[in-house]
């Protein structure tokens, strides 16, 4: 009889400072069975507990092919994230999961895949990007359009560097106007604006997007203008969650629970409730 609310314990094996308020934590389950039975797919999330502070939802930013550990990127915004930020390698956290659905890897095979990310929204996308790049030949053209407020707010700088050096994918980085540094070589402009500039062809393409609600709102508008159908656009929704298992009601949108039926959705699935989401 399993208590669905009880976490497994995991040790922080390393902490990487991404930006002034984002850290990436590498987590390893304490218990070997837990470690081996934790099988996830890109897009899924976990509920991380900082002991005595609380629990919050974080997508898994590493890929299944990154064996032996999972990575979660945490932006410091409140009580729980602050408590997690104060933890060092060696500290114990609680993990419940993996929960939620995952990106439809099979469905996007042989298509042009366009990733559109903003800020820490790159975290769930990174899991998929790493997995996709591990099987590069299953997909047609790959574009990554990623932006943040300023250069210092870009996350996964190591991955970004790596992706930019690859010639089998097209990586376009941007920062908001005013966020550039003198030696910035990327673009300057809001992500949806850069997307319009790049103007990817809708035929045979899928877009996978994640970022702040305002960015998604304008991205969807831009994609609409480029002829993309709602079914071609996949997003992963951020929502306040508590139980993670579809019971507490917090993440309920229409008949869907973001924690169970999502967080990955096509715009077709949520089009009736776009008003209620963004």
């Amino acid at each position: 009889m399993k208590n669905v609310y009880t976490p497994e314990s995991a040790r922080i094996s390393s902490v990487k400072i991404e930006t002034r308020d984002i850290k990436t934590f590498k987590l390893v389950f304490e218990d070997e069975n837990a470690r081996n039975s934790f099988v996830f797919a890109p897009g899924q999330f976990v509920e991380l507990s900082a002991p005595a502070a609380g629990e919050a939802t974080f997508c898994i930013a590493s890929a299944p092919s990154d064996r032996g550990y999972i990575e979660c990127s945490v932006k410091r915004v409140g009580r729980v994230t602050e408590a997690i930020h104060m933890l060092n390698p060696g500290s114990i956290v609680g993990i419940r999961g993996p929960y939620g659905n995952s990106f439809p890897l099979e469905a996007i095979k042989e298509k042009n895949v366009i990733f559109v990310g903003g800020g820490i929204g790159l975290a769930p996308l990174r899991s998929l990007i790493r997995e996709v790049l591990a099987r590069r030949n299953d997909f047609a053209e790959i574009k990554i359009i990623y932006g943040a407020r300023a250069v210092r707010d870009l996350v996964y700088k190591d991955d970004l560097d790596e992706w930019q050096t690859r010639d089998d994918i097209n990586t376009i980085l941007t920062v908001d106007p005013g966020g550039e540094t003198p030696d910035w070589k990327g673009k300057v402009g809001f992500v949806p604006a850069i997307l319009k500039e790049i103007a990817p062809a809708a035929a045979g393409s899928v877009v996978i997007t994640c970022g702040p609600p305002i960015m998604i709102k304008f991205t969807l508008a831009a994609l609409n203008g480029l002829g993309f159908q709602p079914g071609q656009i996949i997003t992963t929704l951020e929502m306040k969650m508590k139980c993670g298992v579809g019971k507490c009601g917090r993440c309920n949108i229409g008949p869907l629970y973001v924690c169970k039926d999502g967080p990955v959705f096509t715009c077709e699935q949520i089009k009736n409730f776009i008003e209620d989401v963004f």
């Binding site: 919050a56 508590k242 019971k247």
Partner: protein, 315 residues
């Protein structure tokens, strides 16, 4: 009285009691504490499967200590009205399927629900229009109906209740059955209100109607906490205890993220969400409307928002 006394042996009994002019479901010390004359209680029986505050687990020096209730004995909930009994079946869909909630399940297995028919529904009741009724036995393990003359019609509805009244009473004759049927008819006729869930409710989601309809709402939690089918909850840490507690989607904080983002900042969005969740979304997922027509929300709302009026007038 005599009928019920044997039940109290070895069992925790929960039933309606009078407390300063209002009637609540509480754990009883003896049959004498039972309130017999009451319309419906303030709280309802969901409190005993999904309590307002429940410890989920505790972190101790030795690790995680699960706090799944291991009830020592058996429980009987006495005199749940048909609306309240029915509501538990609706909650079962959420709590027992998919990621089974063991806290809920433990209490559910351990509890017998004995219902009491409702000969005097009040003017806020509307159970009939939601496939319920004042003499319905849905959700009950046994049903009791006061048919006058100091006689009670008892129905054994599920196997769980098979032996609880053994040795008492006799098989109901046609006279008793007729009296019960007569009372049922009279009672059903008393219920004049009916909720009419529009077939095109989903299409009206974006209607301007919601702003005006929700204007008076205070976004407190009375309707949610007294509702037999509402079940949203929060999870908080109290030092090293992880606790779950009731919450309401009406609350301004319900969907607010630590970053300040909130997709339901406006009151009308939260009000709309509650109505749709109960009358549309839940049924799409679990094939049950999350409302039993008990009328508590309309009775206790501080500003008398009327869910029947709100849904019936939707345009």
């Amino acid at each position: 009285m005599k009928l019920l006394t044997p039940l109290f042996r070895d069992r925790e009994i929960i039933g309606p009691v009078q407390e300063e002019g209002r009637v609540y479901f509480r754990s009883l010390e003896s049959v004498a504490d039972l309130a017999w004359e009451f319309g419906n209680t303030v709280n309802n029986i969901k409190d005993f499967f999904f309590p307002p505050r429940q410890v989920l687990y505790e972190l101790t020096g030795g690790g995680v200590k699960d706090a799944i209730p291991a009830p020592a004995g058996r429980r009987v909930i006495l005199f749940a009205r048909p609306c309240d009994a029915r509501a538990i079946e609706i909650l079962d869909q959420l709590f027992l399927n998919d990621f089974r909630d063991e806290h809920y399940a433990a209490q559910r297995e351990n509890t017998l629900i004995i219902g009491l028919s409702c000969p005097e529904p009040d003017k806020k009741c509307f159970c009939v229009s939601l496939s319920g009724g004042p003499f319905s036995v849905k959700g009950m393990d046994a049903s009791v109906c006061d048919i006058g003359n100091d006689e009670f019609m008892v129905g054994i509805e599920t196997g769980k209740a098979e032996n609880i009244f053994t040795g008492q009473g006799r098989e109901a004759g046609s006279d008793a059955l007729n009296r019960a049927a007569e009372m049922k008819k009279k009672s059903e006729e008393k219920i004049k209100r009916a909720i009419n869930i529009p077939a095109d409710m989903l299409q009206k989601f974006d209607s301007d109607y919601w702003k005006a309809a929700s204007a008076a709402c205070l976004t407190c939690g009375v309707c949610t906490y007294l509702c037999p089918t509402c079940h949203c909850f929060d999870i908080v840490d109290e030092r090293f205890k992880r606790v779950r507690c009731w919450d309401t989607c009406s609350s301004a904080m319900f969907t607010r993220l630590a970053s300040g983002e909130d997709h339901r900042r406006e009151k009308f969005k939260r009000y709309r969400q509650r109505v749709y969740h109960k009358f549309n979304f839940y049924s799409e997922k679990y094939h049950e409307t999350a409302c039993v027509g008990c009328g508590r929300c309309a009775r206790y709302c501080p500003v008398k928002m009327d869910i029947v009026e709100i849904v019936n007038n939707l345009k």
